[in-house]
Symmetry: C5
Subunit: 293 residues, 5 copies
């Protein structure tokens, strides 16, 4: 039971990584800061509006709306997290079905059937690498360079959907084993779930990648945040003067961070720090499949 | 790692697309604006109610209710999003089962069985197109024009449920292959999930399309928003005078936008900008199936 | 893209249907109104309590509690909606499995096997009608009058669980087909999911119907609403005088509507406007099954 | 369409059942009441603290925290409800698989195979009763008294896991039927889901029963409620005097009720009013199985 | 029906266990306390800022942000709880599939096939123990010491993925039984779900263990809490003087506790008090498997 280290918390405060929302929102926060100072200057120096102007009651509107915007943003981030977690689940399922596929084939294939063992030892991890590159739309045949199997590389047309082709080659081989009597019909059944799972996982990841949240929803959220934040200093200046600027900026930081975190994690197949470690997972699949078959 | 572009945010603010809620709520917002100004004029010029009228405390009621209305609207939008996402999932599943069906049949059918290969190469995408048109209730035989298969087009009665008929034709063919000994019983079983999935997906999409949220729920939400917004200026005028009008209008914009976004996305099978890209998905299915079989 | 019709919103405001919560809560709202006026009269005319009575701070308590009651009620309605939607999903699944069952049998049965075709064409829709009547506890044999099949009607004992008996008759027939060699073992497998689904759906609907939310939970919610609403005017009278009455009544309307909507939709198998269109779904099943087999 | 009966609501207010949270929290509420009165007395009579003591601003802290505590408690209750509903779903699944198992066996077994029919007619309901008693940890052989089957009662060792033994006896019989050729391999497969479901349901119920929410979570919630409630009168006394006591008590009632309801329903397998009607469900299973086989 | 014991609640208040968040946050809370006192001293004694400084309005910002931070933290804890519960579900599934696997094999294997019975009686629980140690990354062969089966221990290479190897050994044996004709193809299929489940569960637990929530999300939450709490006393000092220190500390305690509870329970496979009782579950699996086979 480790005591809870205060250092860890305070280090977090000052540790600003490149992927940090603070770092990425900096230019926008600067604009908001300058804008708020401008609003304060105009109201105080230029207009010199009297103490009892109606403007002092404007924060009441922000109060009424603060519930909506708060709940909206937290739900937004939560929905994005659900997508991220769903993406992770699919890659977890890919790990599982790769292992199960290898483990089952390992028992079913004759111990000395080196050709088929080698085929699957190579093709199963290739699926994972191909899916990773497919999702990052940078498909190359590079990943196949060390496969060295004359049945995989020459049969893949890089201009078409690569994971589909790998799945087709694998199922073709399983079906050939069945028709050649090397595995029985019962064993074919037992392999069916894993065969189907590869393509299901690929389709699910494509769905997450290709479907941003509805345009009118995300556009409304951004509009709402900006109008909310940009009208905020107008009323705040009455009570806190020039200090309205840092307060407005901090409130913008909080709301925009939630939006930014949501945008980053709702599409988890990129190469950012927050994205899924697909490279590492693929290497793990390779390692475990090679241990099993 | 791209820095976060401020332009993008501010462009959002002024970019008013046709599908934008701001654009669509404009007439209603105008009415609310005029109404609020009217309320302000009556209270200030006509009634000239004294400073200590009870009306100044009316916003307290709006405060108490602002929690309910905020949470209610965010949940409303979230529930609608869940339906939208569920619809997307079903179309993703259609992509998956089309691919898996093609991929499995491709291995099972003899390489030179051009008749059956051609049959499935054509009928699988037809299901997707038929489902799309069925959900948009504009079923035509147009989509079948380039099918050119004497087994599909002539067997479809456009006055009946088209996707069901396509599914029936496909399963009929699979069953014929089985009874003719072209695929074994084990292989029939391996194809079962995909066969069943087509009709399950169709039924699930119909469910989402045909089931709006319960009438008394949606009716209550609209009534609540209107009463809330229309009583708001009555009290606000005391503190902010004529400015109660823009404030009321903005609060209405926020609440009604959430309702509007919810209404738009809870039925995702139309042809709006926010609706699912079923046309594109169907074309993808066609492309991938043709690559596979 | 249709512009958003203001009429629709304002019509909603004045359109009070019988199923509307406003209509159904009317007597209760009247009582609350009279009670609030009574409280106001006592405090103002009878007790004539001084300006600085502690009572003026009572709304602070309502403020503190307004979060809990708001979130609680929205969650309550949401949970009820989830049950309603789950019920709808099960009926959607019934549509799907009826179709799949018909579609598969249609291919498996010999084209001239009119007896079995007729049997399933009749028995599958009977299941849907029987389930509907079972859930509305008004089971009659009336629905079987046009079945005209000597194998269904005479075998059903209306005093027992009718859907179970229909399922048993259907599975018995499938099993007889299998034992008689009319469908193979592989085909029996292929039909298994659909056979099982009928009874699973029935059980799930019964579960939703027979399980209200826990008593101590719903009792607490009602007590909380009533105490909250009935203490509200006591404090409000100080600031808004007799107007406390309409305000209290409106707040009661909002909270009680959420409870009422929740109660209505959490048991979706009745005959209310908000209940599932089981009759229509059953007729659809009948129509589609007859198209397919 | 029934009008909404006001009586029902008011009866709820005064109807205090034994299982009511009000009844069960009474002693604790009395303590809080006395404590609050004590705090008020000390502040008013003894300390006679001046009007402008900082204490009058303490409620600001309670305001800031009222969001957290409100949302936290509602989520707490909701999570508990999810567990309760999950438990209910598993018992619903038990109903379903008992029915499907009986219904399938009824068709598969020869009409005159009275021995096996009787065996399953008795053993299937025994599973439900055994699970109920297992979950209430009061397993007796009493429930088997009217089974009268020499194959069930003598084979059960009450000191071991009883539902497991019943499942084992049932699967053993199914396997014997298969090995003896009374059911085919295809039929064995058709029965597999139901066989597996019994044990899955038992395990899921055990999981819900044996896993309370994490200790540090529930301990934090209780601490938070108590500190929140016990510091509340300290500040309230300034504005509402002795009336701080009933207000504090009511706020405690609301928060503690939510915690209490959560505790009651998160473990739904007891014998409380809020617990699942397992006895009734088991009797139903018995009745329906006997109708079917 | 037990009355609700007040003692239990008050004991909770003073019972500070080692795993309690209060205990673990103590050093951090002390720092916040000292910091707040420092802020108060500077403002009151040193700066002696006038009564109408803008600083007195700073709490308004905290008010606006209190919704966001409250909802955010409760969602954070809830998401963590969902992971914890998902982990628990997977271990529950491991219990179920271990039992089902044993129960099915027990019927399938000949009564006198002591070798295979002994093999599975030993290997099934070994999987659970191996998974537990794998998740706690302390894999040793110690757990196998009392297995005494020459087929398990010698075949496990402790430097590779141990649960995978156990699964492979088990499936290898099942496949050998099938190829040797000791179980039929139908029986192989009946065992397939359980075989696959072992590896699926392992993969799912690894996923939960190896995937913390996205870095930019958790970093933002910590930054937000700290800035919120550390600016709080600056404004509070004006209204409550030195008492700002305990208030700030308590608010920090609440927010940080939620974060801390979330961090503890989102990775449920450690050895903390809040972690899953994997040791106990494994022993239970061992006990029940030995009762069954």
């Amino acid at each position: 039971m480790k005591g809870y280290n205060p250092n860890q918390w305070f280090r977090i405060l000052f540790l600003i990584q490149k992927s940090d929302t603070l770092f990425r929102l900096a230019p926008l926060m600067l604009i908001i800061l300058v804008y708020s100072l401008g609003v304060a200057w105009i109201e105080i120096e230029y207009l010199q509006i009297s103490e009892d102007s109606w403007l002092q009651y404007l924060p009441a509107m922000h109060s009424l709306l603060s519930f909506v915007i708060s709940i909206l943003m937290v739900f937004r981030t939560n929905t994005a997290y659900d997508r991220w977690w769903e993406g992770r689940k699919h890659w977890g399922a890919l790990v599982n079905c790769s292992r199960n596929f290898a483990l089952k084939l390992s028992s079913m294939l004759a111990t000395d059937d080196h050709i088929n063992r080698k085929f699957f030892r190579r093709s199963i991890p290739v699926y994972a690498f191909a899916l990773k590159e497919h999702l990052q739309t940078k498909v190359t045949l590079f990943m196949l360079d060390d496969v060295g199997d004359e049945e995989i590389k020459p049969n893949i047309d890089i201009t078409k959907h690569v994971p589909n082709q790998v799945a087709k080659i694998m199922f073709g081989r399983v079906n050939k084993l069945y028709e050649g009597g090397k595995i029985s019909g019962d064993q074919l059944y037992v392999l069916n779930n894993e065969i189907t799972a590869f393509t299901d996982i690929c389709g699910a990841c494509e769905r997450i990648k290709n479907t941003p949240i509805p345009y009118s929803y995300s556009s409304f959220i951004k509009k709402f945040i900006l109008v909310y934040v940009m009208t905020l200093p107008i009323g705040l200046v009455y009570t806190v003067g020039y200090y309205a600027a840092p307060i407005t900026t901090f409130i913008f930081y909080v709301l925009a961070s939630l939006e930014l975190v949501a945008e980053e994690i709702e599409e988890p197949f990129g190469t950012d720090l927050n994205d899924l470690p697909m490279e590492k997972l693929s290497i793990n699949i390779k390692k475990h499949v090679e241990e099993l078959i």
